[in-house]
């Protein structure tokens, strides 16, 4: 798929590094992070003036640098999203001119970078709990949480099968006409479904036995502290300033 991020890093639970866990961004309340980043991305996506697009890109890069959230991981994920961004930018560059092409590259990058910092700088269950506390329906957050739990189970199963396939000399098939290769790959995926469904049922029953009742609100009860409020205020202020300049309310 175009623009598909390789999910190889899912095996290590997003590959959070120790530096991520010690950063100020990691310690913020997940609600503050979600509100601040989403508001900023929403505004960055509607900017068209070159100076403002570059200002939002500068804020994004500043966030990525100062947050100290796994720089290698953020760069890797950004590079994985780059082909689609480049396709769009180059097409605009060729058809509508250099300035618009550069604008497109800068605008999409300004939107993608803060989301990657949020994704890599927040523990997954904290992220889902934050969404729930921001009134996202319980059905959706519970499904997110359960699906993430099962993804970890299935990823382990898949990597075990991958090792077994390689041990038997299977190299991934040659092309779409390689029937044997496609059969091995599809049976592998089918086997993951079947093998893990039993395990997943047991995992769900274990969750319920430990008091889980289809909603995750009660698990994480933190209060917004001063750094959280400052973070949200800074990003709201930056977003409002960008939108005011974009639509000429002040100028």
């Amino acid at each position: 798929m175009i623009g598909g991020v390789g999910f190889a890093h899912v095996h290590s639970s997003k590959g959070w590094s120790d530096s991520s866990r010690h950063s100020w961004f990691w310690r913020l309340d997940s609600r503050a992070k979600i509100l601040g980043v989403f508001a900023f991305v929403l505004i960055s996506a509607i900017l068209t003036q070159r100076t403002l697009v570059f200002a939002s890109l500068a804020i994004s890069v500043l966030l990525a640098i100062t947050s100290m959230v796994s720089p290698a991981g953020v760069v890797r994920s950004y590079l994985a999203a780059l082909p689609f961004i480049l396709l769009a930018s180059v097409s605009v560059f060729l058809v509508a001119g250099t300035e618009r092409g550069i604008n497109m590259l800068a605008r999409t990058s300004a939107c993608v970078i803060p989301l990657l910092v949020l994704a890599r700088g927040t523990e997954t269950f904290d992220l889902f709990a934050g969404l729930r506390r921001l009134r996202v329906p319980a059905l959706i957050t519970t499904l997110l949480m359960l699906t993430h739990r099962y993804i970890l189970l299935m990823s382990e199963e898949l990597s075990r099968m991958s090792v077994a396939r390689k041990a038997r000399g299977f190299a991934g098939g040659r092309s779409l006409f390689d029937r044997y290769g496609l059969k091995v790959l599809s049976y592998t995926a089918g086997m993951v479904f079947v093998r893990t469904s039993g395990k997943a049922d047991r995992a769900y029953e274990a969750l319920r036995a430990r008091g889980f009742d289809r909603d995750m609100t009660a698990w994480r009860g933190t209060r917004l502290s001063l750094p959280d409020i400052v973070f949200v205020f800074c990003f709201f202020f930056a977003s409002v300033a960008l939108v005011v300049f974009q639509f000429g309310v002040v100028l």
């Binding site: 798929m1 175009i2 623009g3 598909g4 991020v5 999910f7 890093h9 899912v10 997003k14 989403f38 960055s44 996506a45 509607i46 999203a81 689609f84 961004i85 396709l87 769009a88 097409s91 605009v92 060729l94 058809v95 509508a96 001119g97 618009r100 497109m104 999409t108 300004a110 939107c111 993608v112 989301l115 949020l118 890599r120 992220l127 969404l131 059905l139 959706i140 499904l143 997110l144 359960l146 699906t147 993804i151 299935m154 990823s155 991934g172 040659r174 092309s175 779409l176 390689d178 290769g181 496609l182 059969k183 599809s186 049976y187 995926a189 089918g190 079947v194 469904s197 997943a200 769900y204």
Partner: protein, 321 residues
């Protein structure tokens, strides 16, 4: 196919969100009670399964690989409503945990991969299955492969159309020019879709052999119904509704695009200073000038084409036997 933030015109992204939220609300209303009990872990397992199956890269040739979307597979396993919900969860996880796809573009990504792909896959599968039933297992495979192929191709076409509309609406500030987006998206995904078809058929064949209870069985309730109720509950009718819903979801984008000016032929004629002359024979129907007019014309057109294709295939089948 994951659209990042900042690529689409805000109006197109907003339209994507509106359509996504409407469909999600309908799906939650349909599945609300069903999902709260045993289906909750089941949908989560399948969502996780689709996510993990997307990590299995299949070879395309020349050293390149593609991966599954899984919309058709999901819909065949649990039905379209639960598939839409499950695929939405997959898209959300990709956006929130991996930054794959965006927040403003989430509506469009969900529309393409979590709504259009499962509905198209399930619709095409159920429309073709009765026509290939004489071929037994091979026929089932052909129907499944057609559904899976169509799901990816139509989702890619929707994505290309959204990029084109963004480009037209913003005069080149957003989106991708149609001369680039349409051929590149369609050509690339026509090939990827062939891989999706092969992998989907393989997975379903394996699950059918090893754990058939995982696949949604035929609706027993239909047998007991009579007359119109039975016709409305039939897989064929619901498959046709699924395809019409996809068409209805695409129409607002068409109107947004059409509002920006004349189509290619009209523009060429206008540039050449030629006016449209009185037709020798006038068609009894027009495409419709508003949303519901166009939707009605589309439904009539779909039914005529579906009936003609069905009659043709049946005639060919009868001749062979």
């Amino acid at each position: 196919m994951h659209i990042p933030d900042g690529l689409m015109h805000p109006l197109v992204a907003a339209l994507g969100w509106v359509e996504f939220l409407i469909v999600l609300a309908v799906v939650l209303a349909i599945t609300g009670k069903k999902i709260r009990d045993k289906n909750l872990p089941r949908v989560a397992i399948l969502s996780a399964g689709i996510f993990v199956a997307q990590m299995v890269n299949f070879p395309i040739g020349g050293g390149t690989t593609g991966h599954l979307i899984g919309g058709a597979l999901f819909a065949v396993l649990v039905g379209p409503a639960l598939a839409i919900l499950g695929m939405t969860v997959v898209i959300l996880i990709q956006a929130l945990m991996f930054g794959d796809g965006g927040i403003t573009a989430l509506g469009l990504n969900a529309l393409n991969m979590a709504i259009i792909a499962p509905l198209t896959g399930w619709g095409v599968f159920n429309l073709i299955r009765p026509l290939t039933s004489r071929m037994q297992k091979t026929g089932e495979g052909v129907a499944l492969a057609s559904g899976a192929w169509a799901s990816v191709f139509v989702a890619a076409a929707a994505c290309a159309a959204e990029l084109t509309v963004s480009y037209a609406v913003s005069s080149g500030e957003y989106g991708i020019a149609p001369t680039i987006s349409i051929p590149s998206m369609l050509a690339y995904h026509a090939v990827i879709a062939a891989g999706e078809a092969a992998i989907t058929v393989g997975i379903v064949a394996y699950v059918m052999n090893v754990s058939p209870e995982m696949i949604r069985g035929p609706e027993q309730a239909i047998v007991t119904r009579r007359g119109l109720a039975r016709a409305f509950a039939s897989a064929n009718f619901r498959a046709a509704v699924a395809i019409i819903v996809v068409f209805a979801l695409a129409l607002p984008f068409y109107f947004l695009y059409a509002s920006e000016g004349a189509d290619g032929l009209e523009q060429t004629m206008a540039d050449a200073g030629k006016g449209e002359e009185e037709p020798i024979v006038a068609a009894p129907f027009s495409y419709g000038q508003d949303y519901f007019g166009a939707l009605f014309a589309g439904i009539i057109g779909f039914l005529i084409v579906a009936l003609a294709a069905s009659a043709l295939l049946r005639a060919l089948g009868t001749e062979r036997t």
